[in-house]
Symmetry: C2
Subunit: 333 residues, 2 copies
DNA sequence: GGCCAAGCTGCAATCGTTTGCACGACCGGC
DNA sequence: GCCGGTCGTGCAAACGATTGCAGCTTGGCC
């Protein structure tokens, strides 16, 4: 049914070997025959069977991508970058959404590993031990998580957090809150670290709140706790939490930013669409995704690869949800 | 390196054929040997090489998924449903994001087709001719688009649109606008059809506006045109457009819904998060995704499959962005 | 004209699995 | 005791590509 290499060979009056070489090792075949074979292959619509090729070369031409939740607006940007670069390099991408199920990750990785040349693990939730095992199965690049012995692409969360605090301190805030996300989140830990450092540098008093689920509802739920704290600005674990909080504040008629400045992390599209628009730390998702694929491909090409950690810079997006604190610290008029 | 069927065979003291049969055709092998082989395979961590199996059976165990833009919040829900069902059925999923590039679709489909047993095309943008060719390559199910000769899962957009109009008419609106999306959008055509039918049924005057790009910016850009039209309610092609419009209206201090009711389609997560929250038509994305996979798998199992069109119901989500029109039709006080 | 090297090309083995066919053992019925 | 039928198993040929090796041709040089 499908046209095989033998069909092309017959049509060109050469052997299958020659066709194979014409397609893959240009130097080993006469330029004339090569052109003829290529033309014929194209004309017959020949496409090499990747399974057959993989059987002998041991390479599948596939990459695997594990992602906790495609519905979380953080990930599609990443996936798009990865996908684009993978396709450019003639790799197909298996995508697995784990639905935030950390326990299922190791088994999914094991299944995936058999069918790919390399893997990209985005924000994997599994414990370090399991992760260490996972990266042993097949060349792997971590994204948004780091491990000393693994290659990774991470975001400069710490930097971003510091700049966020500096921005707030510059506006005159002297007490700020941090709403933590899931306890086992790697980037959450980074962000908290940055906030702590920033607060020390700027002599700002830090009040740690939460943790809350990293969702819109999580943000809504902590509004009262935030209002009860002696802070004039709050940094949320991510934009979804920040937006949920803003919504709850609006319901309570608490003005943002005049009574409370609110910020997040990630710069998801929604951050620019709400009112007031959200000051946040932007992550170059597409760039990170492409960088991760590049790292992985380099690792595949290199017979003795070394783990390489890459960090991509974040950018502070100052928008409407931050401003100077109200001079009087008291109750509304 | 990897453990092969021969390793298991050697360990069990049987031939590779027996191992193969023990794993795939239970009846053909003695129950005792079968148990022994299975135990050994498990213990050695044997996993069949899918490429090798695919070479001979002609089935890859892979499904392909084409999607225009993962960053569009409409799609992740769909993808998650598809992905979950595919994994349940022991199929892996190749995902390709075309980045809304209709021209690139046919080639991507052709590439993908070679490596999968079946394909799911979500909201394909290509022209009908190209689409017809595409579905000939490999068993295919269309999602959010229909073609008489193809299996498809679509949403009851027409229904939803009619209900939307009925809802608005019930509130007292007598002139409503429809902001069209891309001219070549299949679901756009459906929605417009439903709106027209609804307006006829309810004797409401319809003003067709647009088309605009189906984005937040598209919605923002058409605010003035909407305000210039003699309407008290507007139905946007999708939620993103509706939200962009709301934002632009807020900037102009036009109250929603009292001066203008605004509605969309899709019920993306953001619809419930903005203020006022958006009245819209919800699509059961996960359900549709799972249904599409079921349809596809049935088609793969059936030697003489027939195209089956499935339509999933939509639900009207009434929220804060719609209300009765202001009694006076004039300028603000 | 003979020799050698280089350049192309084909043969055949190989990757890991499935599957049609044949073979041997065993059992029951005549 | 022989025959026919099951049942369980192994052999070997595929599937479609890649690749080491060997053989052929060709051309250049002495």
């Amino acid at each position: 049914m499908a046209v095989t290499i033998r069909d092309v060979a017959r049509a060109a009056g050469v052997s299958a070997s020659t066709v194979s070489r014409a397609l893959t090792v240009p130097g080993k075949v006469d330029e004339n025959t090569r052109r003829r074979v290529l033309a014929l292959a194209d004309q017959l619509g020949y496409r090499p069977n990747r399974a057959a090729r993989g059987l002998i070369t041991g390479r599948t031409g596939n990459l695997g991508l594990l992602v906790p939740d495609l519905a979380n607006p953080f990930f599609p940007g990443l996936v798009k970058g990865i996908q684009a670069r993978a396709l450019e390099s003639d790799y197909q991408l298996f995508v697995v959404d784990t639905d935030e199920n950390a326990a299922a990750e190791p088994e999914l990785v094991r299944q995936l590993a058999k069918q790919v040349d390399g893997m990209l693990l985005c924000s994997p939730r599994m414990r370090p031990g399991a992760l260490r095992e996972a990266i042993g199965l097949v060349p792997t690049v971590l994204v948004n998580r780091a491990l000393p012995e693994a290659s990774s692409v991470t975001f400069a969360d710490v930097d971003g957090a510091i700049r966020l605090v500096t921005h707030l301190a510059g506006l005159g805030h002297r007490g700020i809150g941090y709403i933590g996300g899931p306890a086992d989140s790697w980037s959450g830990a980074q962000r908290l670290r940055g906030v702590r450092v920033g607060c020390l540098q700027e002599s700002v008093e830090l009040h740690e709140l939460g943790p809350v689920p990293p969702t819109y509802d999580g943000g809504q739920a902590c509004a009262d706790a935030v209002l009860a704290a002696p802070v004039t600005a709050v940094i949320a674990y991510n934009d979804l939490v920040a937006i949920g909080l803003c919504q709850a504040l609006a319901e309570r008629s608490v003005p943002v930013p005049s009574r409370l400045s609110v910020t997040g992390f990630d710069d998801i599209p929604m951050a620019g669409m709400i009112r007031p628009s959200l000051t946040t730390v932007g992550m170059p998702l597409g760039e990170a995704g492409r960088a991760a694929v590049d790292l992985l491909l380099a690792q595949l090409a290199d017979p003795a690869p070394r783990a390489r950690q890459q960090r991509v810079p974040t950018t502070l997006q100052v928008r409407g949800s931050t401003g100077a604190p109200r001079p009087d610290d008291g109750t509304p008029t």
